[in-house]
């Protein structure tokens, strides 16, 4: 269970997240939907440690944790960025195995084996030695998902996973998200796409443009 308690985030005078409370049971999918500028990305950035909230706390299975604190293998939040942010200087395989090797201290062989299994699962077999620029946008996104999964995160977050995809790929990423749910992965999806949210998520948390993103949702 992932819990966000009384999260408040301001940029200068502006309150973007106002005393926000959220709970996500293990293995469930939460979609955060709302118009542009509502603070969806900001919420995701707080959860992944890229922004520090002024106030509030995060709990994973009842244990408080600091998303910005360095590695603790039991408290990893994976992120798939809107623009994927693969490392252009590394091959697909290197993109995926770099952090497991350096951070989780996995052996090269073990890291590669796991990467290959995940690539297979996401329909990317044979792409190991390609560089990101040699992949289509949809393939790059799936590599980004594999890269996040290879860190064995407790929660996997997506920022606008469908925004750059055509309908067929949109369906495909939806299937991937659901197949990860079958493997008990807890997931958070930030999106504009209400239909996609309804199709994939267990719960949809809707935010309003004019209000700060706040209140309770359980």
């Amino acid at each position: 269970m992932l819990e966000l308690k009384n999260i408040t985030k301001k940029f200068g005078e502006r309150t973007i997240l106002d005393n926000l409370n959220l709970e996500i049971p293990d293995g469930q999918i939460l979609a955060i939907v709302g118009p542009s500028g509502a603070g969806k990305t900001t919420l995701l950035r707080c959860l992944s440690g890229l922004e520090t909230p002024e106030q509030g706390s995060f709990l994973l299975n009842g244990q408080p944790f600091d998303p910005a604190a360095p590695a603790n293998a039991e408290q990893i939040i994976g992120v798939v960025f809107q623009d994927y942010q693969l490392f252009p200087n590394l091959t697909v395989l290197q993109n995926i195995t770099l952090a497991p090797k350096l951070v989780l201290k996995q052996k090269e062989k073990a890291a590669e084996k796991q990467a290959e299994r995940l690539l297979q699962q996401l329909d990317l077999a044979g792409k190991e030695q390609l560089y990101p620029y040699q992949l289509s946008g949809g393939q790059q996104q799936r590599v980004a998902i594999v890269r996040a999964l290879a860190m064995e995160p407790q929660v996997l977050c997506y920022d606008e996973p469908t925004s750059a995809l055509d309908p067929a790929l949109r369906e495909k990423v939806g299937q991937i998200i659901l197949s990860l749910k079958n493997e008990k992965m807890t997931q958070v999806i930030v999106t504009h796409d209400m239909d996609f949210a309804k199709q994939t998520a267990d719960k949809v948390f809707t935010v309003n443009a004019l209000d700060a993103l706040g209140g309770d949702s359980v």
Partner: protein, 213 residues
């Protein structure tokens, strides 16, 4: 032909001196340039101010002046260098500043998202730098570094002014003694060969980094 054979040893000895200055300057000032560029981008204001001042002075004054300053100027206040050490000192200080500016631009061209992506993967700052940022920076800066490297080959001739026995001096001595243009022409050919080798090596590095975009 025999005349060329006769002056070849002194020209080659001079060329070797130029090459030594070239290589030591590169070996020292490229890593130092990376360090200074990181300082120029650091959040610690006093460090940034000092390094900015250093780069401003080094790039805004002639290398020739810096050479003369180190070798003829500093002894006045009791700091005495051998000719060769003075040359290396001035060259490294000067080229570090140029390389630092180039690397600073390179680091700034790396999208913030790359750092964030590394951060959520829990890579340390050092790991992010070594595995992700520096390779990308190198690719960006190779053309500008290339220009400076070719300039450096030619700039080594400035050590003439502090009486170091480099290639230019060897040629000039022979021309003055034997009243012929041959030594100076040969000196030109040797400089062309050296800039040619440097350009070739840089193209190889560039090719290595063209595997990805």
């Amino acid at each position: 032909m025999t005349y060329i054979e006769q002056i070849a040893p002194s020209l080659l000895a001079g060329a070797w001196m130029s090459i030594k200055i070239f290589l030591w300057t590169l070996i020292a000032s490229i890593p130092l340039g990376v360090l200074v560029s990181l300082g120029l981008l650091s959040k610690f204001k006093p460090l940034r101010a000092i390094l900015k001042f250093y780069v401003w002075v080094m790039r805004g004054t002639p290398l020739l002046l810096q050479l003369i300053f180190v070798f003829y100027g500093l002894p006045i206040i009791g700091i005495i260098f051998q000719r060769y050490d003075a040359a290396l000192c001035a060259f490294i200080m000067n080229y570090t500043a140029y390389f630092a500016e180039i690397f600073r631009g390179g680091f700034q061209a790396i999208p913030e998202g790359q750092f964030e992506s590394a951060k959520v993967l829990r890579l340390t700052k050092w790991q992010t730098l070594m595995h992700i940022v520096i390779p990308q920076v190198i690719k960006i800066v190779i053309p500008s570094i290339g220009n400076e490297v070719v300039n450096l080959v030619k700039d080594t001739s400035l050590v003439y002014v502090i009486g170091l026995g480099d290639l230019l001096r060897a040629g000039n001595v022979a021309t003055a003694r034997d009243v012929t243009l041959v030594p100076l022409v040969l000196v030109g050919v040797i400089y062309l060969a050296m800039t040619g080798v440097a350009s070739y090596a840089l193209r190889k590095v560039e090719q290595h980094y063209s595997k990805w975009r």
